[in-house]
């Protein structure tokens, strides 16, 4: 699966502030889903304004698409995009055993974090639906130093560092786009349960005790499942708890 998918546009940029920002700029004239890849980002960003390390050779891309769906369903693209990234990595590495998923959309390599996915709706629902930007950064060549990430965060890793495999970002994007298109079709055709089952099949720490932190609240419990709405379900000493938004720590 390495052909560019039908119905998806592609724009490759040498330098941009952030592919997420570029998505916002092209959103008003968007007529079909489009992937944006930048060889260099000057102001890459992560969740809630966190800086994102983006040296040359790593993947920095954003898929921007228009969806006429309620917000809670749009949010399930978190799992669709994580699965697509997992699939693309498994394909180019020829091995999925080293890969796993952390709720909701972290893809792990040898238990370390090698990619980040950030999804934003642009400007809320408007005429023709909501524009969703799915930003994906992956450490293909270089990982940040452990001192550059939060103390409780997973060990940052790169594909090259963990496997010795050198991947070209543009080549990798073709695999990612193809797998995203496949998972998107699966989601829109068969619904979330197919995506949910596939996600759970690769989930890290399923059945083990993990911690979910939302704001200042921490919930510790056994990772039971992901429910039909995408919530993380932890079994705590006081019963099952469904968690719609949190940072997860192992």
């Amino acid at each position: 699966m390495s052909d560019w998918p039908d119905g998806y546009g592609r724009r490759i940029l040498d330098t941009v502030d952030s592919t997420l920002n570029e998505a916002g700029r092209i959103a008003p004239g968007l007529s079909a889903p489009e992937w944006i890849l930048a060889r260099q980002q000057t102001a890459a960003r992560g969740r809630r304004g966190r800086a994102w390390h983006m040296p040359p050779g790593n993947l920095a891309c954003t898929l921007v698409l228009r969806l006429d769906e309620p917000p809670q369903r749009i949010a399930l693209r978190s799992f669709v995009s994580a699965l697509a990234l997992f699939d693309a990595c498994a394909e180019v590495l020829g091995d999925s055993a080293k890969l796993s998923l952390k709720w909701p959309n972290d893809v792990l390599l040898n238990g370390g974090k090698f990619a980040g996915i950030l999804l934003e709706t642009l400007g809320g629902a408007g005429q023709g639906g909501t524009v969703l930007a799915i930003g994906i950064g992956a450490n293909l060549a270089t990982a940040p130093e452990p001192t550059e990430v939060e103390s409780r965060a997973l060990r940052p890793v790169s594909v090259l560092g963990e496997t010795g495999v050198s991947l070209d970002p543009e080549m990798f994007l073709t695999h990612l786009a193809a797998h995203y298109a496949k998972r998107e079709t699966q989601f829109t055709t068969y619904g979330f349960d197919t995506i949910r089952q596939a996600w759970l099949a690769h989930a890290a720490r399923l059945g083990e005790t993990i911690v979910a932190r939302t704001g200042t609240t921490e919930t510790e419990g056994r990772f039971d499942t992901v429910d039909s709405d995408g919530n993380l379900v932890l079994v705590t000493s006081s019963g099952p708890v469904r968690i719609p938004a949190a940072d997860v720590y192992f």
């Binding site: 917000p71 949010a75 978190s78 709706t121 939302t214 704001g215 609240t217 719609p244």
Partner: protein, 162 residues
């Protein structure tokens, strides 16, 4: 339609023994909202918020969020004052500003339009910009940064501009 004292007691008993944290029941003109962590309210249904979609115990973003006085205006008060509510279109964590340290999207006294962004809601690492969908001057902000919000929960109170 009225509920008897016994019927109300039975409803509370069922909820108390269940694993649900909160529940809303609507029957004709009567609506009951009950929560193990908050006060019970029973009121006539004028425009009642839709039933939250998340059914069971749902984690609160901030430690047990007993509804703050400002966060739970009575529908009758709102109507009496001629105010209108901006409500949440989804479940998630509400942020008042685009990122930590930034100015809030809206503040008390601001005049806002339907397409004004009033906050961001995060769910499953998806950040959704929330538009007012109504116009008016902001009288009160009902949720704080990082609060967990439910579907249909009031976020702002507006005074319509004539």
């Amino acid at each position: 339609m009225k509920l008897t004292h016994e019927e109300v007691r039975q409803v509370l008993s069922i909820i108390s023994e269940s694993s649900f944290d909160s529940i809303e029941i609507k029957m004709g003109e009567i609506a009951i909202s009950a929560s193990k962590s908050g006060p019970l309210r029973a009121e006539s249904v004028a425009p009642a918020p839709p039933t939250p979609q998340a059914p069971a115990q749902t984690q609160q973003a901030e430690p047990p969020t007993p509804p703050r006085a400002a966060a739970a205006p009575k529908a009758s008060d709102v109507a009496d004052e001629g105010l209108i509510e901006v409500t949440s279109p989804m479940v998630g964590v509400f942020y008042i500003a685009p990122e930590p340290g930034a100015d809030p999207f809206v503040a008390k006294g601001d005049l806002i339009e339907p397409d004004t962004t009033v906050g961001i809601i995060e769910v499953m690492k998806v950040f959704t910009s929330i538009r007012a969908e109504k116009s008016g001057r902001v009288v009160r902000c009902l949720v704080e940064n990082g609060d967990f919000v439910e579907f249909g929960q009031p976020l702002l109170l507006l005074q319509p501009e004539s």
